[in-house]
């Protein structure tokens, strides 16, 4: 357990030292640009803004993909962990938690000014924040999964998008669907799909890391 926590700590520290702000800046840029694109009509912005922020969060989750697995695979860190008898699934789960810790809280903080920019009212903002809290584990997990599948491949970035975005469709549908009043069911389905993806990822990513060695 202390080994596992040491892995989480290392990955969080690496994230804070670089790359942490990239998804947040991207997310904010979308929120800033969107009103320029559709015009200053507050009603239109408020009606569509929440969905746009969900799409932005989804695309922002793609940005850290290339720093999640590839550097550790290349430098031999993953091999050294395996030599020490730490399972690839354990490594993947530590990386998942660490990635979520450095991806979700900054994004949820950024959602507050972003909501103001797209004229979302307070109540919808709360639903957006709750949805992001439930949905970001799935976004982080899909990022890690795709990172472990594409590590070592040339032009992995473009491939990562093609692999990840279709898998993220349920999260997007239920996430955006949970923004309207009385949408408890969408929120529950969002939580369910997020739990499913996050629970599956350590095993899938662990298998991918193992396969990479062969």
């Amino acid at each position: 357990m202390s080994l596992w926590l040491a892995l989480v700590r290392r990955d969080v520290r690496l994230a804070w030292n670089g790359g942490l702000w990239l998804p947040v800046v991207f997310f904010m840029l979308v929120a800033i640009l969107y009103p320029f694109g559709v015009g200053p009509d507050a009603k239109l912005l408020a009606r569509t803004g929440g969905g746009v922020l969900w799409v932005a969060a989804l695309l922002a989750a793609l940005l850290p993909v290339d720093r999640l697995i590839q550097p550790d695979a290349e430098s031999g860190v993953l091999d050294q962990l395996a030599v020490r008898g730490i399972s690839d699934e354990g490594v993947a789960s530590a990386k998942l938690i660490a990635h979520w810790l450095s991806f979700a809280p900054p994004l949820m903080l950024a959602a507050i000014p972003a909501a103001a920019l797209v004229r979302i009212d307070g109540e919808t903002l709360w639903r957006l924040e709750a949805g992001l809290a439930l949905g970001t584990p799935a976004l982080a997990a899909l990022g890690l999964l795709v990172a472990s599948l594409t590590a070592g491949l040339p032009r992995a970035g473009a491939l990562a998008g093609l692999l990840m975005l279709p898998l993220a469709v349920p999260v997007l549908i239920f996430g955006a669907g949970s923004l309207t009043a009385g949408s408890g069911a969408a929120m529950k389905l969002l939580a369910a799909s997020s739990l499913f993806i996050a629970a599956l990822t350590p095993f899938a990513a662990g298998a991918a890391i193992r396969a990479m060695r062969r």
Partner: protein, 194 residues
Amino acid sequence: MAGAGQLVLHDCALDRGGRRLFSGLSFALEPGDAALVTGPNGAGKSSLTRMIAGLLPVAEGQLTVSGRLALSNESLALDNGAPLGDALSFWTGLDGQGADAVATALDALAIPHLAPVPVRMLSTGQRKRASLARVLASGADIWLLDEPGNGLDTASIPLLEAAMAAHRAAGGIVLAVSHQPLALPGAQDVRIGA
């Protein structure tokens, strides 16, 4: 260092990419023993160290490893941005070694002055020594060293040889793959390929 390690290969074979690299490889190393693996390029020497480390599957035969392993190969496995001392401390922390393990290892390889230097600034020879320091500090029973002398200057080779001798004297096992002559008194000669 513990002295309870053992490494036994019985009739082992290894496949890479659908091709058999070697087969019928047998040797046994007890505490204090060493083996020097030689062979032509591409014979599977590095793959042998990876197989023993558990990173590659054994195609045939039986591999028995008891005790903890440490592997040094061409992958440094140290965080580029971190100072060398901190990067090594991450691994000694995982290995359950004390706070002075890193300093002792750096001293043994005559690079204590590199501890505050970021890993990405190290030269080829310094990186090799850092990789060896990771093994020295690990407190593992069995050292797997893939070309440990590569890139080392003439002054550093004796340090490496002294470290290996000390490890064996303490009951450790050394398996080294090397093209260069390395002083490993009484080491078994393991020849792969051709």
